[in-house]
């Protein structure tokens, strides 16, 4: 069976035949077809099932507003559920599957729901499934969930790539129909930078779907000519297959370009889609209008669709659902479609017009003051039941019925900034209101200017206005002669009577009865109506149903439509693949990866790496003989205490603070005094937030009278720099101080351990003896015969230690040089695990302790908050709640049995008594095994812990089912008096 319903002409490439598969069956079509048009050509009307009642459905429209003909496109990982057959471009080998049925599409077991319809009214589920309570989770909900959704995700990773892009233009034109083309042409000729975007793959809008719009030439030809001229303009960018999805602040629009969805397969390296962020100075919305339907009993059968869709299928795609069609209309456009169909050789069974003054035709029968009461045909329309003006009932055979209830302007984008559309009584449509997104003008049918002449004229007006505000002079433009038929319409929303179910929202199965039930139950506000009945909440977001729903609610409430209100329009205009919003930022590319200067060297040594923010840091350096990470970390930590180790600490934040007021500035930023710090000296310091909580800790080194180098923790490098700039620019604007982040400028290594001096003595070109370079000294030095470097004698490990920094390009060379120099001392590279062990052994806080809720008091550093001077956070740190007697103090704990692991995140409880929140005494922040003490140890916050050394407590972790008896000890496990670092 091949294309039995293919008509003559149309905008398709008959020379080429494409083969495709629907539900496993092979069909043929042509380039220019959509899946829907190709299926219709092959005599297929049934394409899907509705959501709730599983009613048989075919295309209801020919565009992106489609509620019915939704399929799963492609297979496997590329399967794309809920794809509109009416917009899916046909390509050779296309495969698609119908959705939402159990059994075959024709014989769907779930169609039983249609028989039970009277029980499944709007909101029925809110009223039942409550008893017995236990049944909800076990029985009722699983049943409801099983019926959820239409298509299914593959559960496989999306294999395609998505790109993002940024465009800038004077004028963005949304929609390339008559109005959009006219406005773009004028703006282009006048020298503006124009972007013309249209969701369709063929520009021209109405011109492609209707005939007789221009009086002296074919609209399609004019569109083609105009597009050709626009294409030739350097400053004009034409973007077909590009849907403008949202209007955002200050002239920014989001647009999705479907780069390769219409191709059999995406070319390697090319994106499937691109999300464009368009920065426009002005925008013009020319999105056209969407036809609306009329509700009547069983108005949802395959073959029944919007009249304009029937016309578009015939004119543009040369296909029809059936060789015999009827039209049901309340306005003149239905008659134009009938004429077009006739011209295509389709038999017109009649035009049923609700108006008593319906125009007459010599070519086909027109029933004035008539209505379609019902339809028949299980899997597709067979006949309609009509009552004519005299009240006579008749049955008319037809396989296609075009319905026209008038046109709704596509106002969506004009409402994305909260503006509400306003009701125009004369046209009986909602048109864009006064509150538009900044810089937007609405033209053509989207503005309620429906005739082709009006559309073209409004295009010129729109462009002229925009050009004026852009300071450009509008060139003259010659517009083609076009039809200027007035809108002749008598609002008619639904056929009365209790005949049967009349659909408003086709996909979600919302009928006129549901709306009256919602009213009856008090769900009368528009949003209540929508949420209670699910009207307009389907994948089409009510493009073909919302206004009708409002009108019917108004009728029931005996109100005017505007009194009932209007629904809120939200982005995206049509549904958008989540992958497009994510772009390239996925998998390993989710965030950039920062590497330390010694990364390659560490990799050569077989280091294991771990994420630290965006950094990758060496976690530990296993040797071939070591079988688990603990062995490695123990070895590394011991080496530092017994001989010497080296660790890359480049990731620590570094900020250059210079200027004649640098010292005074830091004195305000740090809780402790910095003013009197001597040149060549370093000081440990803590910074508070203004609320008195510790923000960060680090060191300040004074390299010169007016030059400090400040370090921050790795995690806080960015926020601390931001905070310092805030203090500098906003709080002390008059100070002479300049900041510069130098985190990456210097490759910095810790060389720690009793032999560290001997190692560095071989590298640093200066005397490192204790007298010449004592504890906390710092200096600009040179290494290896003249390379500029910075040396700090500071220690995180508690051992004799130095931090040496060279310009980053030399980092790789320096680490190798240090290893050479340290060879005789078996210098041991160590990672952040050992770093953690060493600092826990010394009770130095890091992120786990500085968790944003701890004060200097909690850390046992209360005395560092200078009494003599002001500092950020000083005043509020005095608040009573932060200074209670039972305040948490940082302490150390040891298990009575040294081999028992301590759990970070465990809570501390008294030895006896109940274990619950009300008896909580504190919690463990960091834990590790100390190879030096041959015991597990941990740091913890304990209520008034400072006074409780020696006490025995229980460390409980119900989550990990652990309980350990522990002793409270000083957090300074190793060398508490700190003599080693001064040696």
């Amino acid at each position: 069976m091949s294309q039995i319903n293919r008509l003559k002409d149309g905008q398709i490439e008959r020379s080429e035949t494409l083969h495709f598969y629907f539900d496993g069956k092979r069909y043929s079509g042509h380039p220019g077809d959509t899946l829907a048009s190709a299926l219709l050509a092959n005599g297929v009307r049934l394409m899907g099932r509705s959501f709730k009642y599983h009613r048989p459905r075919g295309p209801f429209s020919s565009g992106s507003e489609e509620p019915n003909a939704l399929v799963t496109l492609r297979d496997g990982a590329r399967a794309e559920p809920n794809t509109r057959a009416t917009t899916a471009e046909l390509f050779d080998g296309l495969t698609a599957r119908s959705q939402n049925h159990v059994g075959s599409l024709r014989f769907d077991m779930m169609a039983i729901n249609d028989r039970l319809a009277r029980f499944l009214t709007a909101g029925f589920y809110y009223k039942t499934f409550m008893w017995p309570a236990a049944f909800w989770e076990k029985l009722y909900e699983p049943l409801i969930r099983r019926s959820a959704g239409l298509g299914a995700l593959s559960a496989l990773d999306d294999p395609d790539a998505y790109d993002k892009g940024f465009l800038h233009c004077d004028l963005l034109v949304v929609g390339a129909g008559p109005a959009g083309l006219a406005t773009a042409l004028l703006a282009g000729r006048s020298g503006a930078e124009v972007i013309l975007a249209d969701e369709d793959f063929r520009l021209g809008g109405r011109f492609n779907a209707e005939t007789g719009l221009l009086t002296e030439e074919n609209g399609v030809d004019w569109a083609a000519r105009t597009v050709a001229e626009l294409t030739s303009m350097e400053k004009v960018r034409i973007m077909p297959r590009t849907t403008v999805i949202g209007a955002f602040d200050h002239g920014i629009f989001g647009a999705v370009e479907r780069v390769s969805d219409h191709l059999g397969k995406t070319p390697a390296d090319r994106p499937r889609q691109i999300l464009w962020r368009i920065h426009s100075k002005r925008s013009i919305l020319a999105a056209g209008a969407t036809e609306r339907s009329i509700a009547f009993a069983n108005n949802d059968r395959p073959g029944i669709m919007l009249a304009s869709a029937l016309g578009a299928f015939a004119n543009r795609w040369a296909v029809t659902p059936s060789r015999r069609a009827a039209i049901f209309t309340n306005n003149d456009s239905g008659h134009r479609v009938a004429a077009d169909l006739l011209a295509k050789g389709i038999g017109i069974a009649g035009v049923i017009d609700t108006r008593d003054d319906a125009p007459v035709s010599k070519d086909f029968e027109v029933f004035a003051d008539a209505q379609v009461l019902d339809t028949s045909g299980r899997h597709g329309l067979r006949s309609i039941k009509v009552r004519d003006g005299s009240g006579k009932l008749m049955s008319i055979e037809c396989g296609a019925l075009g319905v026209s209830g008038g046109w709704n302007p596509n106002v969506h984008l004009s409402c994305h900034h909260g503006g509400k559309p306003v009701w125009n009584d004369e046209l009986s449509v909602f048109v864009p209101g006064p509150k538009l997104p900044q810089g937007m003008t609405v033209i053509g049918a989207a503005a309620g200017r429906f005739s082709t002449h009006e559309a073209l004229a409004s295009g010129v007006e729109g462009a002229t206005d925009a050009l004026g505000s852009l300071g450009l002079k509008a060139q003259a433009i010659d517009l083609p002669e076009a039809e200027d038929a007035p809108v002749e319409i008598t609002p008619f929303w639904h056929v009365g009577g209790d005949a049967g179910r009349a659909w408003i929202d086709q996909q979600n199965d919302v009928t006129v009865k549901d709306i009256s039930l919602a009213y009856q139950e008090g769900f009368r506000a528009v949003e209540h109506l929508k949420r209670y009945t699910t009207l307009g909440m389907a994948t089409d977001q009510g493009k073909t149903s919302n206004v009708a729903g409002l009108a019917i609610m108004a009728e029931i409430a005996r109100k005017e439509i505007p009194e009932v209100g209007s629904t809120v329009y939200r982005p995206p205009y049509t549904p958008v693949a989540i992958g497009a919003f994510a772009g390239r930022a996925r998998g390993k590319d989710f965030r950039p990866t920062r590497l330390t200067p010694s990364h390659d060297w560490a990799k050569e040594r077989g280091a294991v790496f771990v994420e630290a923010g965006n950094w990758m840091r060496a976690q530990y350096f296993p040797t071939s003989s070591e079988t688990n990470w603990r062995q490695t970390v123990d070895r590394e930590a011991l080496a530092v205490r017994t001989s010497v180790g080296v660790c890359d600490v480049t990731t620590l934040g570094k900020v250059d603070v210079q200027g004649s007021d640098a010292a005074e500035f830091l004195n305000l930023v740090y809780a402790n005094g910095v003013l009197k710090l001597r040149v060549g000296k370093t000081r440990y310091g803590i910074m508070l937030r203004e609320d008195g909580i510790v923000m960060d800790d680090g060191t300040a080194a004074r390299l010169a009278e007016t030059h400090f180098v400040v370090t921050t923790t790795t995690a806080n490098a960015v926020p601390v720099y931001r905070h310092m700039e805030f203090v500098r620019q906003c709080l002390c604007p008059a100070m002479d101080v300049q900041l510069m982040s130098t985190t990456e400028a210097w490759a910095q290594f810790t060389v720690a351990g009793p032999r560290s001096r001997e190692v560095l003595a071989k590298i640093v070109d200066q005397d490192l003896s204790n007298g010449a370079f004592p504890f906390m000294a710092c200096a600009n030095v040179t290494v290896s015969g003249g390379l500029r470097a910075r040396l700090f004698r500071i220690s995180f490990s508690g051992e004799l230690a130095y931090e040496i920094a060279v310009p980053t390009p030399y980092g790789d060379a320096l680490i190798r040089r240090i290893m050479e120099a340290g060879e005789e001392f078996q210098i041991t590279p160590y990672g952040i695990e050992a770093l953690g062990v060493l600092r826990i052994e010394k009770g130095h806080p890091t992120g786990n302790e500085l968790n944003g809720t701890t004060t200097a008091l909690n850390l046992g550093l209360g005395r560092m908050v200078s009494r003599k001077k002001d500092c950020i956070g000083k005043v509020l740190s005095r608040r009573e709640g932060l200074n209670t007697l039972d305040a948490l103090n940082l302490i150390g704990i040891r298990p009575l049995d040294p081999e028992t692991e301590l759990r970070a995140g465990g809570h501390l409880m008294a030895l006896g008594g109940t274990v619950d929140a009300s008896h909580d005494q504190g919690y463990v922040t960091s834990a590790c095994y100390s190879p030096n003490l041959r015991s597990h140890i941990a740091l913890a916050y304990l209520k008034s812990g400072g006074d409780r050394l020696g006490e025995h407590l229980r460390l409980v972790s119900p989550l990990t089912r652990e309980t350990v008896e522990v002793e409270v000890v000083s957090p300074h496990f190793v060398d508490p008096e700190g003599s080693r670092l001064r040696e």
Partner: protein, 182 residues
């Protein structure tokens, strides 16, 4: 002279992908200069003398002495095609002395040159700068795939990107992916 050898972030990689050429610019020395309070005039005079003019916002100025790039109010990044062995910062500091805060920046950045007729197409997929209306010499600080970068336009078909050295490989990866996608 030290025998420690410098290593550039991308080991001087140079690649042509489709119509786009990507090349790491090596042997670049960088230093940032911030005018001290009440020394703006002296700094401006020095910049004018050294680079011919004082680069303003979104701008850069080049001369035989290298390129000066506006970083922020009274703050510039100077770059010069000379090996990192040379103490560029120290050198500038002696010239400006207490008139400016001078900071070594050579190690902070990787410099990648992007050339090709489809330069604008590439940058449209990378960042929000108005690449098509920018003039040679114009510069912007912007985000490329979550990385903060400076982009200096050299001509309609050539631009230089300064990106954080630590994530140089991520930046390079982003650029190559985009070049392939065009």
């Amino acid at each position: 002279m030290s025998d420690l050898r410098p290593r550039s972030a991308l080991d001087g990689v140079d690649d042509v992908i489709g119509t786009i050429r990507l090349r790491e610019v090596t042997n670049i020395s960088l230093v940032s200069v911030a005018a001290r309070r009440n020394s703006q005039d002296r700094c401006h005079a020095w910049l004018r003398m050294t680079f011919g003019a004082v680069p303003g916002p979104n701008g850069s100025e080049s001369s035989v002495a290298g390129t000066a790039l506006w970083m922020g109010p009274d703050q510039w990044m100077l770059s010069r095609q000379i090996g990192p062995d040379f103490d560029y910062a120290g050198n500038i500091k002696t010239e400006l002395d207490e008139a400016a805060s001078v900071t070594e920046q050579t190690g902070s950045w990787v410099m990648i040159e992007v050339t090709g007729d489809r330069l604008a197409d590439a940058f449209e997929r990378l960042c929000a700068i108005p690449i098509r209306t920018m003039q040679p010499g114009e510069a912007r600080r912007t985000q490329i795939n979550h990385q903060s970068c400076f982009v200096v336009l050299e001509s309609k078909s050539a631009a230089r990107i300064l990106g954080a050295r630590s994530s140089a490989r991520s930046l390079w990866h982003a650029l190559t992916m985009t070049a392939r996608a065009l």
